[in-house]
Amino acid sequence: MIPWDKLHGAMTHFPIALLLFSTACDFVSVAFKKLTFARGLRLVSFYGLAFAALASLGAVVSGIALTKGDMWGRGDFGWHHRFVWPAFGLLVALAVWRLVVRDAMSRTGLCLYLVMMLLASGFVAAAGYFGGELLLSGGSVP
């Protein structure tokens, strides 16, 4: 029997950490765009985002196996899913967008991209919080 609870717990940390780190790198590279390491940071954020999107597939598959296909639910379980699905969708969309555009971003494009990265990071952080609540407290009943 595959221990999906442990596997899901292990796999979710990759997209969470990579997305948050990628967002941080993007903001630092914008804040210090005149410095030489800014270009390197943009490259790091690109690969961080790409790997976060790939890792999120594993996290989602293990999560579906763990919940036996229950994609919504109630209480903390429901809140976990309310944040997970927008985060997953946004993460994939941002990774594909970045893959197409690379560094050829206009000022408007960059601003929109940063706002969306912040939004995705918020969703991922909230999903992680409620996932942790499920693990540590069994989840609240509405």
Binding site: P3, D5, I64, K68, F88, V92
Partner: protein
């Protein structure tokens, strides 16, 4: 926004929608197959048989904390009228609750856990 950015946005949204639809479809199919007990090698059991088996497990492992009537004991809360999904119940039984409830993953496999969940659902 430049044409390239718009092209990227279209590609991103299309891919995202496609993956989300595929994920929800696959999840729904998986859930239906589990609820019907049609996984390969499994004979479907009726709800009464499942609950009866789960009741036995409940008295073996749960009743001493949650009470024989499942209405709460000295150490465990009432399990009557739980408003969480079966998958959530199974998750708690398998994983436990830190510092409050032990994990029963080693004692009960997924099918055994499903019988306990079936019994708990009869207590609504």
């Amino acid at each position: 926004m430049t044409p390239l950015e718009i092209k990227g946005a279209v590609a991103g949204v299309t891919t995202s929608v496609f993956i989300l639809v595929a994920t929800f479809t696959a999840g729904g199919i998986y859930r239906n197959s589990i609820e019907r007990g049609t996984e390969p090698g499994n004979k479907p059991l009726d709800a009464a048989t499942l609950a009866a088996k789960g009741r036995t497990f409940f008295f073996q492992s749960c009743a001493h904390c949650h009470g024989r009537d499942a209405d709460g004991g000295e150490d465990g809360p009432s399990l009557l009228k739980l408003q969480i999904s079966g998958a959530h119940m199974a998750l708690v039984i398998q994983s436990g609750i830190k510092d409050e409830m032990p994990s029963f993953a080693k004692k009960y496999n997924e099918q055994d856990t499903a019988t306990i969940v079936a019994y708990l659902k009869t207590l609504h």
